[in-house]
């Protein structure tokens, strides 16, 4: 039982962080707060993958002795594949956040508000009585 708890509490922390990010995306009315929730969501997914890639007694995946494939012991280095995939995921998160902020700035310039309910009202009024 104790072995089960110490082996799984890492996953539970990342999943609680995911729920906090989802709470921010759904329950907040300001658009910028929704974006902060989205960033927390992405970071929690990255942390989950890195939690799966650990090994007892493993070190940084940089080879210590440069010999042939027979001399390398794969149990001495942590699993390097999820770390590589998460480098790509971090950069994709940065790109998504940058484009999302540009869209929020364009919305503010056009409708002069950042609140979700007021924004929906103004968009509906704009659609019913078109401004051209």
């Amino acid at each position: 039982m104790l072995r089960f708890l110490t082996g799984h509490y890492g996953y539970w922390f990342t999943l609680i962080l995911l729920t906090i990010g989802l709470y921010g995306m759904i329950f907040k009315r300001n658009l910028v707060k929704k974006l902060i929730g989205m960033t927390i969501f992405q970071v929690s997914i990255i942390m989950f993958y890195l939690t799966c890639a650990a090994k007892f007694g493993g070190t940084v995946p940089v080879l210590i002795d440069d010999s042939g494939p027979a001399a390398v012991n794969p149990a001495a280095y942590i699993n390097a594949l999820p770390h590589t995939l998460m480098l790509t995921a971090i950069v994709v998160g940065v790109a998504t956040t940058g484009v999302a902020f540009a869209i929020v700035i364009t919305i503010y310039k056009r409708y002069k508000t950042l609140d979700e309910d007021v924004l929906l009202e103004r968009m509906k009024k704009d659609h019913d009585a078109p401004a051209d």
Binding site: V62, I90, G98, F101, I105
Partner: protein, 147 residues
């Protein structure tokens, strides 16, 4: 958020530290073979050095460090270096991004040619990431009076 800071100590220390951050970022890019690091990490640090200079001295003065439209141009050059290395490997007889065929123009062995291929590609990635981070900062603050 205003660009210039009223505190002269903060302004001067930021202006002095920014070149050292760039040197450390260059070390991280080129030592990506032997220690944790590589293209993405070094490119982000280079972008952070330029943004620190823009925050400390204002956008007008910091135009001397990196001009106004240069960010997107550097991003394009970085992507071009990446594609260019892949096409060079294809022109020399191999498939796309197969770096061991670079040994036909460089006097090294096959495994060292892959080493050099990885090095070129990391430089391209670092340049692209730096250019785009500076371009994002410039575009988001493009109309502000005292940014």
């Amino acid at each position: 958020m205003t660009g210039k800071s009223d505190n002269p100590i903060l302004s001067m220390i930021s202006r002095m530290i920014s070149p050292f951050i760039m040197i450390y970022a260059l070390y991280v890019i080129f030592h990506g073979h032997y220690s944790p690091g590589g293209g993405f990490q070094g490119g982000t640090m280079l972008g952070a050095a330029v943004i620190l200079s823009r925050l400390a001295s204002g956008s007008e003065l910091s135009r001397l460090l990196l001009g106004k439209g240069i960010g997107t141009l550097m991003g394009a050059i970085g992507v071009f270096i990446y594609f260019g290395t892949g096409f060079l490997a294809m022109l020399l007889g191999g498939r796309f991004l197969e770096y061991k065929y670079l040994a036909r123009i460089m006097p090294v062995s096959d495994a060292m040619a892959r080493n050099w291929g990885i090095q070129f590609v990391e430089v391209g990635v670092g340049l692209a990431v730096m250019g785009i981070m500076v371009a994002l900062y410039d575009d988001i603050l493009t109309g502000e009076p005292d940014a």
